[in-house]
């Protein structure tokens, strides 16, 4: 099949599934959802070839996008919006990750009937599939307007999925998530308008563009966006737009101090939704940095590098300390996400090849390990109906298979060499440590790496301490009769486990999917960053 057709099917397949779910009887909903997300996953796998043989990475940034569909959505006087989708190294791996996590999350929802709130199966699964369309569409969009539409499209299903089927404080968690994310979106909307009209000015045309690739590669637009004399309400245009976009994306990542919605949303959301939140939704923020902020506003990015890197390090350390203080199992995993996403931001901030690679790898690694961890928490919560770390103990003895898989999952999250988490963190730290060799003015980089490295120690501390309290120790009577993982649970855990090991032992295959585009981006922004550094 034609690759662009496949990509369209991947994005809108879930929407078809949603229609089916709404038509079919309620008891069929979960089967349709499972099947839809599985088919979408398989379809997305057929996009691999051009990324494996490297032919997707010929030419410069955006010159050789794969699976492209481009047509006018609206084209009237003064306004041109395109339906423009496509894949490159930044988005491809994330598409695969999304389809995989969504499929496994659909499987996790299999026991929907046993949930505390188990009404409205149709609604749940319909929204679930709508969410999948939103996420995939965001990753594949090249037109910024389209990107924004898909970005917002994710909000509504998520609001309901948390708000209706969540835990005790679900309503508060849902609206907090909604308001925080919308706050980011409206800033993005302002930037969207500003960039559209500035691009029109730059190109001397009456109609601007929303094309993210054109923004990054068009010389005139780049000059205009990164011109230190281009003022917007008295401030530097590039910097203001970078900050607007950055805040919009950092809320999603989430970066300190906008992280407070996350523990709440994670804890209140049902297990599969937590898996999606941690595994995919947070990645959108980081993806936004890589796709929008850095290639388009390299000058501002360079000038603000210290600030961004600091935010990343704060996330790493602060998130880890928060983890140490948690007694709720799920909350601990939620805060660990905050800590891990800090590495991603740090890797992006230093703008070196190793740093970018590490950040991308960490995005994927965390996309594998965090849903696995949330699922592991879900498994034990289904049996024990509480999540108090201190009330557990000796679970490994009672549930040996579960215990083994759990240890693997948490070690992957910890960053144990040989598992996926290690590679990302190591690359980020290496890239940061060396950044002052690449960009002379980043004299602060080695120090930043040293501080961030302490995060690794803290991560080990909270994970090992948690494992000790939950899985090790003496058996407890109240958990005596707990059944080990069921076949379904094992089937969900094994793909995660296999990928965690595969990515840890042979990271080259993963790097291969994205390195080409990372090089293209860095080549593209090099002149601008060099200029901004005064070199």
């Amino acid at each position: 099949m034609d690759a662009s057709l496949v990509l369209n099917l991947v994005i809108f397949g879930p929407l078809l599934g949603m229609v089916l779910v709404l038509i079919a009887p309620a008891e069929m909903a979960k089967r349709i959802t499972w099947l839809t997300s599985f088919v979408v996953f398989l379809l997305s796998l057929t996009l691999f070839p051009t990324f494996l043989d490297g032919s997707a990475f010929d030419g410069g940034y955006g010159e050789n996008m794969q699976a492209v569909t481009q047509m006018d959505w609206i084209n009237v006087v003064g306004l041109k919006i395109q339906y423009h989708i496509g894949l490159d190294g930044l988005s491809f791996a994330l598409i695969i990750l999304t389809t995989l996590v969504m499929w496994l999350a659909a499987w996790t929802s299999w026991n929907f009937n046993t949930w505390k709130v188990n009404k409205g199966a149709k609604g749940y699964f319909a929204l679930f599939l709508l969410l999948e369309t939103g996420i995939l569409g965001t990753f594949a969009s090249i037109d910024f307007f389209l990107f924004y539409i898909f970005w917002e499209l994710m909000l509504l299903p998520m609001y309901f999925l948390i708000g209706v089927w969540g835990g005790a404080k679900k309503e508060y968690a849902a609206i907090k998530f909604f308001i925080y994310t919308l706050a980011g979106s409206v800033l993005m909307l302002v930037a969207l308008l500003a960039m559209y009209y500035s691009s029109a000015d730059a190109m001397n045309t009456s109609t601007g563009t929303f094309d993210l690739i054109t923004y990054a590669t068009n010389k005139a637009i780049q000059q205009n966006f990164n011109d230190p004399n281009h003022m917007f309400l008295g401030w530097n245009f590039g910097k203001v737009m970078f900050i607007f976009l950055f805040i919009g994306f950092m809320i999603k990542v989430p970066l300190f101090p906008f992280h407070t919605w996350l523990p709440l949303a994670h804890v209140e959301a049902p297990t599969p939704i937590s898996m999606i939140l941690a595994g995919v939704l947070l990645k959108l923020g980081a993806y936004g940095f890589l796709r929008v902020c850095y290639p388009i506003f390299p000058a501002a990015a360079t000038e603000l590098a210290f600030l961004v890197a600091t935010l990343g390090v704060v996330n790493i350390i602060y998130g880890a300390f928060c983890c140490l203080a948690q007694t709720d199992f799920k909350r601990l995993v939620a805060y660990s996400s905050i800590s891990h996403m800090g590495y991603v931001v740090l890797g992006i901030a230093v703008m070196t090849t190793t740093g970018f690679q590490g950040a991308m790898f960490q995005i994927l690694a965390h996309g594998i390990s965090s849903p696995m961890c949330f699922f592991l928490v879900g498994v034990i919560y289904d049996r024990a109906h509480h999540r108090e770390i201190n009330r557990f103990g000796g679970l490994w003895l009672q549930m040996p298979k579960y215990g083994s898989l759990a240890t693997l999952g948490f070690f992957a999250s910890l960053g144990l060499p040989g598992l996926c988490g290690f590679i990302g963190e190591a690359w980020v730290l290496l890239g940061t440590f060396n950044a002052n060799k690449v960009h002379e003015s980043m004299t602060w980089a080695p120090g930043m790496a040293v501080v961030a490295a302490f995060g690794v120690v803290l991560t080990a501390a909270y994970i090992l301490w948690m494992i000790q309290r939950v899985y090790l120790g003496t058996e407890r009577k109240e958990y005596a009769g707990f059944p080990d993982v069921t076949a379904r649970e094992a089937a969900i855990l094994v793909p995660f486990a296999v990928l965690a090991i595969f990515m840890g032992v042979m990271p080259g295959y993963t790097f291969q999917l994205m390195n080409g585009t990372i090089d293209q981006v860095l080549t593209l922004i090099k002149p601008m960053t060099a200029m901004a550094f005064g070199g």
Binding site: W73, I74, V76, V77, G78, L79, I81, K119, G120, G123, Y148, I149, E152, L153, L155, L156, Y159, F160, G163, V164, K170, E171, A174, I175, F178, I179, L182, A183, V186, L187, L189, V190, L193, A194, Y196, Y197, F232, L233
Partner: protein
């Protein structure tokens, strides 16, 4: 003497009269209503049927003129002093909208009279009076978008307002309704007075009632290098705009709105929430298109202040509307504040239209177009939202937010539609509300009022919370209220509104095209610089500009 008077009297030709067919049809509907009441013993079903037929007929007549590519400027000019009435695509477009909305409101009346609430008692008894007033206000609103004559504008605004006061108080034994109507009358009277004051200043100074001529004279003054009189002109224009601001319930002329919306029966509230605002905005655009057409070539100092005043008014309107909606428990009152907020968004584009800067003039066309798009989507959203509230009200007798609790179980269809409508009101993509707002923000941005865009997006954020409160009541809360027995036809209307909202959000082309066409028709006039009406002399009876007058216009003291 009588002989010569007769000769100088203007008699319209049949062709000219036919251009006013939609307006005549509305008047005929009123007459038919009154006559039918005499012969059918005030049968309410007959009355409602007549209104339905009248609305369809008027709508078709206007639609036909709209389709036939009616001249963009067909004025009725009895004595060479400028047209009294105008019939062009712009006015026909608004008349079609009004007719569609009349049908929605009549359908609501039809369904509502079946419930056994005290409101429907009144509806059953006094249907004729209700409908006469209702069609009367529709006629007034149609006039509002069909004229550029100062006197006609004032008459049209009064024609739209007076029946509205009456139907607001139609729940006769209801104290809230009486109070609301009283407030409405007082506010209406005061703002009318201010408006007439502004009009008289303009007339007194420029010695013409025709806005286009006034525009040309302003231009001539500017050309002659007159720099004085800025204060006079800004006061006159702003005072004139107050009357229109009252119609669109802009802050600080909005106090009537929540009380009237709460006090009036839901049909009336629905009608006023959309039609009154659409007509007000239509008139505003009309006034703008002629009064600023000529000076658009010159930076009129006065308009800078008017623009700023309207921009501040717009910012206040949406902020006050959104913040006040937070505390409301009554759905109609909440939607009233929401409608104030939406008027604020639309006024933002109006501020751009007054802006005499280069950026503002460049953004005039998108701003016109954006307002028209917004009105279309706003009509769909409010019709849908009020219909849901109405059906919940008929079934429960309550207008409180708590009446919505658990609607997803009690009537899944209504709840899903309402949720979509509410998120469209917030401005969430990919719904029509977002696209309309997006066009609007684009125009405002292009016009250079960046701070206004920031205020608009912040307001979007604020508004999320109170709209989400209704969603939360419908979907996240459930206190076991009984199911809603919503009439099928009502559900169908709500579903159609919802589909319309989704389509306007996803298929961007058609709506934008309609809006652009409308804007172009008006804008064609705006763009032609000094002699606005010569450019559109294609119209059957367009007046030739009275240039001598313009040249000898007195300099402003």
């Amino acid at each position: 003497m009588p002989q010569s008077m007769l000769a100088s009297m203007w008699m319209p030709s049949a062709e000219e009269l036919s251009q006013l067919a939609p307006l005549f049809a509305l008047v005929a509907t009123i007459v038919a209503l009154l006559l039918a009441a005499m012969f059918t013993n005030r049968n309410r079903n007959v009355a409602a049927s007549i209104v339905t037929l009248g609305a369809i007929g008027t709508g078709l007549l206007a639609w036909k003129r709209l389709q036939s590519g009616a001249p963009s400027w067909a004025g009725f000019d009895p004595n060479g002093m400028g047209p009294m009435l105008i019939s062009d695509t712009f006015s026909q477009f608004f008349i079609v909208l009004a007719c569609v909305f009349m049908l929605v409101v009549t359908a609501m009346w039809w369904l509502g009279q079946k419930s056994d609430l005290p409101d429907s008692e009144v509806h059953r008894m006094d249907a004729t009076e209700f409908f006469v007033l209702f069609v009367g206000s529709a006629f007034g609103m149609s006039l509002m978008v069909s004229t550029t004559n100062l006197l006609m504008i004032i008459l049209a605004v009064e024609m739209a307002s007076l029946p509205s006061y009456g139907i607001t108080a139609f729940r006769k034994k209801n104290r809230v309704a009486a109070e609301a109507s009283m407030k409405y009358v007082l506010f209406g009277a005061i703002t009318s007075a201010i408006m007439i004051y502004g009009a008289s200043l303009l007339y007194g100074y420029y010695q013409t009632l025709d806005l286009a001529t006034i525009g040309m004279k302003i231009a001539a003054d500017m050309q002659a290098g007159a720099t004085t009189g800025t204060l006079f002109l800004s006061v006159a224009v702003f005072a004139f705009m107050v009357g229109i601001a009252f119609k669109v319930s802009a802050v600080p002329f909005h106090f009537w709105c929540p009380d009237v919306f709460q006090g009036a029966s839901i049909e009336v509230t629905t009608w006023l929430s959309v039609a009154s605002k659409a007509a007000g905005l239509g008139l505003m655009l009309r006034v703008l298109s002629v009064i600023i057409c000529a000076p658009s070539a010159f930076p009129v100092e006065a308009f800078k202040y008017v623009s700023l005043a309207i921009a501040i008014m717009a910012a206040l309107t949406c902020t006050v509307g959104n913040l006040a909606a937070y505390r409301q428990m009554n759905l109609k009152r909440l939607l009233a504040y929401s409608s104030i907020a939406h008027a604020g968004y639309m006024l933002m584009a109006v501020a751009i239209l007054w802006s005499p800067t280069d950026a503002g003039i460049g953004a005039a066309h998108p701003a016109f177009s954006a307002i028209v798009s917004y009105i279309i989507v706003y009509l769909l959203m409010n019709a849908g939202a009020f219909f849901v509230v109405a059906m919940v009200y008929w079934s429960t007798g309550s207008e409180s937010i708590t009446a919505m609790n658990g609607l997803i179980r009690r009537s899944p269809m209504l709840a899903v539609c309402m949720a979509i409508i509410l998120f469209s009101l917030v401005g969430m993509p990919p719904l029509g509300g977002f696209m309309a707002k997006f066009y609007l923000l684009m125009a405002v941005w292009k016009g250079g009022l960046y701070w206004l865009v920031v205020i608009a997006v912040l307001n979007t954020l604020i508004s999320l919370y109170y709209y989400a409160r209704i969603v939360r009541a419908m979907i996240l809360t459930d206190d076991g209220l009984p199911e809603i027995s919503a009439p099928m036809s009502g559900q169908l209307i709500v579903a159609m509104c919802t589909i319309g909202i989704i389509l306007t959000g996803v298929l961007l082309g058609p709506m934008k095209e309609i809006a652009n066409n409308n804007a172009s028709n008006l804008y064609a006039v705006v763009k032609s610089d000094v002699a606005p009406r010569t450019a559109s002399a294609a119209g059957p009876s367009a007046a030739t500009p009275n240039t001598e007058n313009a040249d000898t216009a007195p300099t402003i003291p």
